[in-house]
Point group: C2
Chain length 404, copies 2
């Protein structure tokens, strides 16, 4: 049995994105080489909603919700019925399979909330959970928190793109070995890899065959770059018995400050998630839920333009990293880059803190995404285009200053 | 070991406040006696924020937060530093003991969020938790969810007021018997009982003596009626080694639609709560946190007036209930009434559903607050004054229609 102390040790947030302000810098003086590097501070730990502001009309939608009063303040725990109705239609269309607004959809406090509830509804002490590495840092933490056992599945992302993807042999082995749940993100966070149609179909079939519950986090599926294809697992012909799909407007649409997400799929899992939500925080903030009325009905051309602008940043940053010899996979979707650093004379965590202190650049260490990724860093490049390029140049400069 | 099925059975929300819309009414036709009763529908399951609207300036504060952009969208998981600074000052003054904004305070998604994080930070499989009965329904559910064992402590609330309060002998027995945690609300939800200075001091001393962590939910401590005294446990001379106080602006201030709460106290518990918050939903919605700037600095006279208006409703409803012979304790604070029903010819859950279906009155069954309270109902009387009186008259009429 895990003690509370162990449990919370596994939940360390010292290197988690957004918490950098709480890190101490006092001990850096002894290791710092040279002077501070000039430049506009860039925080790559998350997207910059000043550079890419929230969907037009989202604040107005909040105010409309506020003016609705009691009806909007106290919604069902799974979210306001009419808002769910509209969402179910639009998400059903986007993902290629109808959704029942009444039984198959829950509105959550962010996609983080959706992941928490989904894993809380499926993982207890001893539950075996297949987890992709690297993948979103909270997946592993959540499995541990609920007492589950992690079966790690490698994701290949640095090689020839046709050979990239999850190791499906390892996945089948894990399923044979008694995995009850499989959780993964596509587009993958932190690499931007989009699972191919063939992998998605095979995952869906294997999960059906071995009766594994699948939780697929598609948070970034709308930010899809030129020529790429996205496959929705919930639209596959062969379906897992239990499946939850998670999406939300925090990233591409920059609504993170509203804390809104959704999960949709198997109704008895949605029921459980709602019961858990009732003791976690009752509901996603009532007035905020109104902002979901802007989701998947943004002004014409707005989304295309947003994707286009991110693609331009991706291309430029990739060029800078690759020119400097950094192995960096090309993201097919989303706004993350996951470059591999050259060998350094300081450990990764010290380098990350030096970057912030000396070069005004905040990034997230790769170990947040896979225990072995201590040679990689994650950048959310949803930033001011010019400032991001200069900040990446400072990262490269810093690897030279601290080279082995 | 609890299975997931057991775990979620304990989290049933069918009778939870706010979920009544999901109840089936089909089977009521066979038990319903007579016709529907005319009247304005009243939902006593929660306060009516149309009758008592949110604090003046709260929506404006949200919009100010939104306009601040990135800084306010992505706060530390424990909440935006400047907002915490102001809160720590004001909450420290209110509760009679200074609070460190940096280490002793966390902003949460509602006080529900604060309770979830506080119990998550202190209760694991086998932890013994002393729980008052009756008390806020989620307390028991949370303890069960985290795998703890409940040691029930009776609250006396129907007798002579000087003899009312928690059974302190039973509490000491529980502490002797190995209780690790004690969670309770004062003012008590659902009875409105305020723990006396003597009980609070004794609880604090006993907790110190037996090294029990105390979690005290003071959600309703600002809505204190004429002549009543509120005692803050965190201001007692003898202090428990570990103590968390929970408060929020969802009730008296009607900000429930913002989902905001706070917990403050022992810093290593606050640390744990933040780590847990990081995987639960990251943070209370960033823009919403700005509304906390209106908290404890409402316009002059506003709070006094709000309390006064509630006191007038309390007095009138008490009169109506007592005139009809219902045993009903007089709430010293908060907006809950917990009357005992006369013997009925139908079970409590059927009566509750009939009330809603036939009399347009929504209330919460007493069993949500204590397993044995199947003869009581809870009303949140933060409602339109006149409509509330008429609705209580319909409740009384219904007990006559369905009398044994």
């Amino acid at each position: 049995m895990m003690t509370l102390e162990d449990k919370f040790k596994a939940l360390e947030t010292e290197n988690a994105p957004g918490q950098e302000g709480r890190q101490s810098v006092e001990d850096l003086d002894t290791v710092m080489r040279g002077d501070k590097l000039d430049g506009v501070p860039v925080d790559f730990s998350h997207g910059d909603v000043d550079a890419f502001p929230p969907t037009p009309g989202s604040a107005e939608a909040w105010n409309t919700g506020f003016e609705k009063g009691a009806k909007q303040a106290y919604t069902e725990y799974r979210g306001e019925a009419q808002i769910r109705e509209g969402l179910a239609n639009r998400l059903g269309r986007f993902t290629g399979r109808a959704i029942s607004a009444d039984t198959e959809l829950i509105i959550t406090p962010g996609t983080q909330g959706a992941l928490f509830l989904a894993l809380g509804a499926t993982v207890a002490s001893g539950t075996k959970v297949a987890v992709i590495e690297p993948d979103y840092f909270a997946n592993r933490k959540l499995v541990k928190f609920f007492g589950g056992d992690i079966l790690p599945i490698p994701l290949h992302y640095q090689g020839v793109s046709s050979e990239n993807g999850p190791d499906l042999n390892r996945l089948e082995e894990a399923f044979k070995g008694g995995a009850n749940v499989f959780v993964f993100s596509t587009p993958n966070n932190p690499t931007g890899l989009v699972y191919s149609p063939a992998s998605i179909e095979q995952i869906s079939s294997l999960a059906e065959q071995y009766n594994v519950t699948v939780i697929v986090d598609q948070l970034y599926s709308r930010m899809l770059y030129s020529g790429e294809v996205f496959t929705h697992l919930r639209a596959c012909e062969t379906q897992p018995v239990k499946l939850l799909t998670i999406m939300g407007p925090s990233k591409t649409e920059s609504l993170s400050g509203f804390r809104l997400g959704t999960a949709f799929g198997t109704s008895d899992l949605v029921d459980r998630m709602e019961r858990l939500q009732a003791i976690v925080s009752l509901r996603a903030a009532g007035y905020n839920q109104s902002a979901l009325d802007t989701w998947f009905q943004e002004p014409s051309g707005w989304m295309e333009n947003r994707v286009h602008e991110h693609e331009a940043i991706r291309d430029d940053l990739l060029k800078v990293f690759r020119k400097a010899g950094f192995i960096t996979a090309k993201p097919q979707a989303g706004s993350y880059l996951f470059p591999k650093l050259p060998p350094l004379g300081v450990d990764l965590y010290t380098f990350v803190r030096l970057l912030r202190h000396q070069a005004a650049v905040t990034i997230t260490p790769g170990t947040e995404f896979a225990p072995g990724s201590n040679d990689s860093i994650r950048l959310n490049f949803s930033q001011d285009h010019a400032a991001a390029i200069e900040a990446v140049k400072r990262i490269i400069k810093m690897t030279e200053i601290y080279s082995k």
